[in-house]
């Protein structure tokens, strides 16, 4: 396995470059082809609109049998993303399937920004605020987006 990059990863990378997803960019690191620099634009009509969020994505040795590891680098106020940028998303854990790919993972993360789910929290304080006073939580998320995500 360690003999070079699997053809699947090469193909995926090529397709990400030639047919990028709108609002998402993923560029492989020059040193490590399994490490991607990702940018996701905050979805329209979400508190993250106008923000440009940086993430890092790493394809482990047993990818695609194991899920990619993804983390927000940009600070974000979201009930399913914690202080360290770790993301609570089922397809990154038990719902991973080798038929999924970088593209679908990033699309799911983009969708998670549009639909925060405080009932399955990772950042407990944020989730609590989201449930207690949603409009205030959304305002905080906007504020964080303005301050951190550009």
């Amino acid at each position: 396995m360690s003999s070079g990059l699997p053809r699947r990863i090469i193909k995926e990378t090529q397709r990400l470059m030639t047919e990028p997803v709108s609002g998402i960019s993923a560029v492989p690191d020059e040193q490590n082809a399994r490490y991607f620099h990702v940018h996701i634009a905050g979805p329209k009509d979400s508190p993250f609109e106008g923000g440009n969020f940086k993430l890092e994505l790493f394809l482990p040795e047993d990818y695609p049998m194991a899920a990619p590891k993804v983390r927000f680098v940009t600070k974000i106020y979201h009930p399913n993303i914690d202080k360290l940028g770790r993301i609570c998303l089922d397809i990154l854990k038990d719902k991973w399937s080798p038929a999924l790919q970088i593209r679908t993972v990033l699309l799911s993360i983009q969708a998670l920004l549009s639909a925060p789910n405080p009932d399955d929290p990772l950042a407990n304080d944020v989730a609590e605020q989201w449930k207690m006073n949603e409009s205030k939580a959304i305002e905080t998320a906007r504020e964080w987006t303005r301050v951190h995500a550009h």
């Binding site: 699947r8 399937s97 080798p98």
Partner: protein, 214 residues
Amino acid sequence: MIDDEKMERDRARRKRTNRGSSEEVVDLSFNPGRRGTNEPIVEEEIVAVNEASTSVAIVDLTKDSNDSSILSADVVDLTEINGTEDRDEVTPPKRSRRRKHTSQDMGSGNSVVISSGDETDDSDDLVLLNSPLPDEVNERLASCKTASPPKKIIKCPICYDDDAAIKASGRRLVSTNCGHIFCENCLKTSISTQHKCPTCRKKLTMRQMHPIFL
């Protein structure tokens, strides 16, 4: 909205007809009933019920209009409008033409407009029946024909190799019991780690797959 549609349709019609384009422009500006109704027949019935004394009007609108001297100019005008709408969809042209000719015989005040519309009506009907519909049909047929064969490329959704590459490397194509296709190696590895179909997540064991030969 309506105006836009109108404009587009007018433009299309101008392209289609080879003769008398100026005549058409005059006709279009005159005609109030051009706003597209999709179901001219239904429209006819409604008009009949609402506007005219029922039984006579129905006979007049749907069949021959020889006895329609009782009817006022308004009613004749409405059938005329229906006639022009008919043009947008493809309907049997004979009936509407007959109606129009008799309405001219009545010599109502609107007959000038009606007759001018009448001429382009006929030409439009012919053109419509001949050119645009078959084009659309042909396009659809063509797209169907071209779309299906390239889809025959079968890829393993895990290693992304196509069936040729899979066979060339001595692997087999397999299908799960739930009907999803992979290369043998990828599916076996996947089942051994997750025990479910990578495509639909249905529970799977190593026995619930079989080779397929294409």
